[in-house]
Symmetry: C2
Subunit: 334 residues, 2 copies
């Protein structure tokens, strides 16, 4: 049977309030008493009930991470980063999938907060940009932070990397190798990062004096299948690209797959670039050139903003980092 604070108090020969004091590291407990209580806790292997604590004090020591993301790698790393910081701070992480397209979306988040007494929320893309939710959270005065927001940046702390700069740099890097026909696969329209990365691509082309060819820009959805479809179309063009920049790693994997199937060798005949959450890109290494996108670090830092110290209103956490893996080649002769 689960021991309670009363069992501990009885064994230590004190009142439950004294036990509570020890558990919460409060002052005004004599050395000896404290030790006796601690021994009883050990002996009984007592662990305070989070439910009881949540009721008694106002807060639950739980935060929720909300996501609606098609990429297992993104989800896994975001979760890992947030959980790590939670652990360190003695919080528990509620990991909650949601559906931003549902008419009940905001209601469901509200229900989550009320049911769990969550102390705060961490929003990951594309939840991070749902205006209706942001409004509701502000109204309720629920603390929250955002990962990679695309708008309304003034309303809460957030973490992000500079997608425009990163995509610009990648595009210029490919151009620097000699590529002049560089295709781009756009991400999911619901994600503001998709727009930023596209903007970076265009800035990169412009900086290199390359004209944008609309036929080389394809809409994707940040998932494997859309990258694959886009690459199939691109590679069957009369004048195909010599490089394809897919704006996340799942789509890059789709591009690699399509190229394999068409017998096109990477990187000798086609250069492929992507955004990298480590594992996926490593699986495809060496054909892939990637931007290192530390999802885990973004989530860790966001959690820290929510729970740790007094956060500034806005934080620019991480610069982008361009990382070249493997041997992206200059364009093949034609």
């Amino acid at each position: 049977m689960r021991p309670t604070i009363r069992d501990v108090a009885a064994m230590a020969g004190v009142s439950i309030k004294t036990v509570s004091r020890v558990l919460n590291n409060e002052a005004h407990v004599s050395k000896g008493t404290r030790r006796r209580v601690q021994e009883a806790v050990e002996a009984l292997r007592f662990r305070p009930s989070m439910a009881a604590r949540a009721l008694a004090r106002g807060r639950s020591h739980q935060v929720a991470l909300l996501y609606d993301n098609p990429s297992p790698y993104y989800v896994y790393h975001a979760q890992t980063g947030a959980r790590e910081r939670c652990r360190e701070l003695g919080f528990r992480l509620i990991f909650q999938e949601c559906d931003i397209r549902s008419s009940e979306f905001v209601a469901e988040v509200r229900a989550l907060i009320d049911e769990t007494h969550a102390d705060g929320l961490i929003l990951s893309p594309p939840v991070t940009d749902q205006a209706a939710l942001l409004t509701e959270l502000k109204r309720r005065n629920t603390p929250f932070v955002r990962i990679a927001p695309g708008n309304n940046k003034g309303i809460c702390p957030y973490t992000y990397i500079d997608d425009v700069a990163a995509a610009t740099e990648m595009t210029r890097y490919l151009a620097g190798l000699g590529h002049r026909r560089i295709a781009f696969v756009v991400g999911h329209a619901a994600h503001s990062s998709a727009r930023d990365r596209l903007r970076g691509y265009r800035k990169g082309l412009e900086a290199e004096g390359l004209a944008e060819d609309p036929a080389l820009v394809r809409q994707g959805r940040y998932d494997y299948e859309s990258g694959r479809t886009a690459a199939q179309e691109l590679l069957e063009l009369g004048r195909p690209p010599t490089a394809i920049f897919a704006s996340n790693d799942d789509m890059a994997a789709g591009v690699v797959s399509a190229a394999h199937e068409l017998g096109i060798r990477i990187p000798e005949e086609l250069s492929v670039a992507g955004y990298d959450d480590t594992d996926m890109a490593r699986a495809l290494w060496p054909p892939l050139t990637t931007i290192h996108q530390p999802t885990r670090a973004l989530a860790y830092a966001a959690t820290d903003l929510l729970l740790g110290g007094a956060p500034p209103a806005t934080v620019r956490l991480l610069e982008h980092r361009l990382v070249i893996r493997g041997s992206t080649a200059p364009p093949a002769k034609r």
Copy 2:
């Protein structure tokens, strides 16, 4: 401010007990009263506190899924499957990473149960085979189920696929294409599935009248890096294999990567086979031949065993399914 059951009672003009009755679908409430209460619930957007409920009744309506697994895909799919069934049954899923090698491993799980009042546990490999934990759970009388256990199968319900049969079939399939030097990359020693799959490989060789060449069997750890290393060694042998059977998808990805790097074309010059949790294998399609391993379904069914109806002591849930993707080739001429 969060509405409570008292607010609902006041608005509906009844006592909190009546509200409680309506919330829990109990009998002995008149039609009209029930409707009035429901309207008040809607109007106030009332959601009962899980913490208060957990205290008042004995159970928390929460279950925990324990994992200690290096594969993001595995973790993601297991989580998704378990969460889905939880949702349907009105439970909340606590998704908990742990470290089976820690000396505090059992103590930490015990702490989790006491802190959260979890009603039951779902154990995924390799947690599923930690004898010390199983003993403790039995002693405490905590309900639990296991996914793909390798031993002590009598003690609780579990779900699994037949790894021995699946690996046998895959090996025989490769042999049927004409391969006679089929290599095998073994999984992590802590997972019983690693042994089962190796056994299947051996049975397959035997059934085809092929002698096992110890040089063609390499130890891996179910992660990308170990698959890559194993393949590098295998492909540099004096007499390299014509097919490599990696016993999970992360390792298969490593094999594909190593082959690419060495300029070996798949599947023309090397056939690669793996175990597939869909996404990873799809990313590498078409070079890969895979066994379809529905992690998500296994987790869903395990959760159902834990929460749904009266489960039998043991359930054989799913036969394995061999899935051929793309065009695995016969062995290259030498």
